[in-house]
Amino acid sequence: MINIEIDGKHIEVENGCSVIDAADRLGIYIPHFCYHKKLSIAANCRMCLVQIEKAPKPLPACATPVAEGMKVFTASEQAVKAQKGVMEFLLINHPLDCPICDQGGECELQDLAVGYGGSASRYSEEKRVVLHKDIGPLVAAEEMSRCINCTRCVRFGTEIGGATELGQAFRGEHAEIMAFMSDTVDSELSGNMIDLCPVGALTSKPFRYSARTWELSRRKSISPHDSLGSNLAVQVKNNHVMRVLPIENEDINECWLSDKDRFSYEGLNSTERLTKPMIKQGGKWLEVEWQVALEYVTNGLRQIVHKAGAEHIGALATPHSTLEELYLLQKLVRGLGSHNVDFRLRQSDFSADSKQTGAPWLGMAVADINHVDRFLLVGSFLRKDHPLLASRVRQATKKGAQVNLIHATDDDLLMPLANKEIVPPTEMTTVLAQVLKALAITKQATLDTSVQEAVQSVTLSASAQAMADSLASGERVAILLGNFAQQHPQASQLQLLAQHIAALCGATFGFLGEAANSVGGYLAQAVPFVGTAHGMNASTMLAAPRKAYILLNVEAELDTHNPQQALAAMNAADMVVALSAYKHHATEYADVLLPIAPFTETSGTFVSSEGRAQSFKGTVQPSGEARPAWKVLRVLGNMLNISGFDYNNSETVRDEALGSADVSAKLGNILHGMTAQATTWNVAELQRVSDVPIYAADAIVRRAASLQKTRDAATPRALMHSVELTKLNLKPGEMVKLTQGHGSARLTIIADDSLPHGIVRVAAGHAITAELGAMFGDIMVDRA
């Protein structure tokens, strides 16, 4: 430890700490622009110059490491003179356009200029002009003359985002921030550059010129998208969500937000919002009063229970619904006498149900990911499904962590991979069995009988051996099953094998939950198995059509594993009640549309992948006649005379749902009573592999206009290995007809030689592929 003194205050800090960090711990603020605690040190703005005893000239506090006995003066005459000098230079070329600058009021340069700048400029020559750039639909780089070349955006891209999309070209007075060949910035974390920019050079394109920062009230919320549970500051003006910013939480999102969390708010103000209850009569949609709509629903449900039996009622919800909503939905359905309720709409293998020790979760704290030294990622589009979690894994690789990947596609994770096995979905269990076998040999361990047979039959490959060696050499090992592994037709087999691999190398193993409430859904018991009772799961409920469906936030053709089957079931049903924030395709098959509030308009709770229950309050009033879904379900419960529906607020619902025990007691990834199978399923010549594109994953982002203009939201194309294309006599760029079951889709076909043979990669969750069948399974490709 090193003892230093800053402005007369003594502090002991560790070796290698910078003066600015030490000052920060003492609560002494040193002005700065280029320094950022999460980024590397550039020391190019020179604003943090301080006086240090025995140093002949002022030194930059950010790039000066502490030394024993160092005496620092941050506000001495010399320091302040240096800081004022730097400020004068920074302002020489900075335009005086604060009144029309979007950053005005939240600008670091503006703030510091008040403290350190002169009241008038001594510089009367021409200022430099930097031309504006178009770097995509999210980040505006329209006024690059304002740039002070701190390079925070460049360093963010390289160090946190993993790709150097922006750079500083030219030099000296001509230096400017730009993208190579006027390219766009496509990072799924690009919005953070707006926060980082200390001036108004990079601003938010969707938010620009719509409000001033001091007009906005700031309300806390929780992200409803991925399972990280990012903390949001929702900024509101006139009962309208104007923008979303991160709230710093070192354990979750640090100081970042993914673009999905940041820009999805545009979907809240979409013109597709459903604002009045509607009933379909004689094929026409009528707007009605809530009372009429609710009576229609209760009468309908009662009739179906009476005539066909309660088991003919099925309820489906998305894992983006709140804990309270999911809890009341299952309580309502169970009150009617049915156990057919599920939120795992994209899952296809339910054989692990009730064989698990608890709700499947991450198995560790999110913050611990940074300290893992060996990863085994199984079936994950990590960057697109979990952008900020991917960034944590990337940070871990910088400290030497090895990442091993078993997946069906080879998308660039923008981090070094130690080993990878890109195989068709049918072979994923085999690869895991190989890794398990190799580990068992290395560790000279006897395998559990439940996996012995599956492991015996496989022959070791070199890469499986390399993966096993990598895992065995780690001290803190994590095995993470991604969305793809959870949607996989052998999900529980993958889980079982991962569990045994984890046991052999002392690893934690867990699931990267698909959505904000993937853990919460289990805790809310929105699953068909509770105690001894067993209802139908999301898959069987659609395979064997029910007479009535209650849909909570569900768009049947986009949110399910098999949209073809889902739509058929909806069309065949006598009654479909859709609780939705949006008017969507349900107008084709539903009988009642009940307008409910998205996350900004209701109170609720999301339980993140790490098992953290985070409650939030509504930030604005519900749009039109929309109401929080938990209230709608409560009233339905009351009208159906189901007992226990007398809640005064969402907190009581939450407390009942979570019970008195700690959440952590209800989590558990361990499977009991399952046997690993050596065989895989039979497949035709071509099988489908599906990702859910990042901006197609839930109802809100699908309607977020700016996100929909990004490259990630481009119309999906089908991808195949070029050998397969040649076999079918197809050329890349041609339109093809993809057929599954009785439905088909027309897409452009593209060659992708990183895919395994026998695979067609087709996105799910998108309107263009909604006629197709299951996310995994046989598929046919013909020339369109």
């Binding site: 790709a163 150097t164 500083q168 030219f170 030099r171 190579f180 060949m181």
Partner: protein, 159 residues
């Protein structure tokens, strides 16, 4: 695609650096391209990025930072006149103006026949020979007078 010659030379450079530091060879690779075709376009930079396994933008940063890389065609003979202090003191401005008038082009331009390009440059570290220019970044010609310039240009014209 980088030409075989550029790749060969770059490979030789790469031997000087650790295998995971391939981008260390970026300046050499850009130089080889310029030697071969006189200038470097953005496709070349993208090729270098792919070859050295580094971000395209980082190659662009290097190529635009250093003055001696030509980012557009600069003629068969690029004359780079030093206009730094020592040269200025002994009449670099007149030298530059003389060449401008003689060739009928401005700084950063190329003669219509594509033979000569003119650039302003930085100190060549031979201030005792001022005023001076460099030909194609390879050959320094110092102690310039009008007569000497006429003579050099006439010789280059014949090539």
């Amino acid at each position: 695609m980088l030409s075989e010659q550029v790749r060969e030379k770059t490979d030789r450079e790469l031997k000087k650096y650790p295998p995971d530091r391939k981008q260390s060879a970026v300046m050499s690779a850009l130089r080889f391209i310029q030697d071969e075709k006189g200038w470097i376009n953005t496709e070349d930079m993208a090729d270098v990025a792919a070859y050295l396994d580094m971000p395209q933008m980082s190659v662009y940063e290097v190529a635009t930072f250093y003055n001696m890389y030509n980012l557009k065609p600069m003629g068969r003979h690029t004359l780079t006149v030093c206009t730094n202090l020592s040269c200025q003191l002994v009449g670099a401005t007149e030298t530059l103006n003389y060449i401008k008038n003689k060739l009928g082009i401005g700084v950063g331009e190329v003669t219509a026949d594509g033979k000569f390009g003119l650039r302003e440059g930085e100190c060549q570290n031979v201030c005792d020979e001022a005023p001076l220019f460099m030909i194609n970044n390879k050959k320094t010609c110092g102690h310039l007078t009008k007569e000497k310039i006429d003579q050099i240009l006439a010789e280059l014209d014949k090539e």
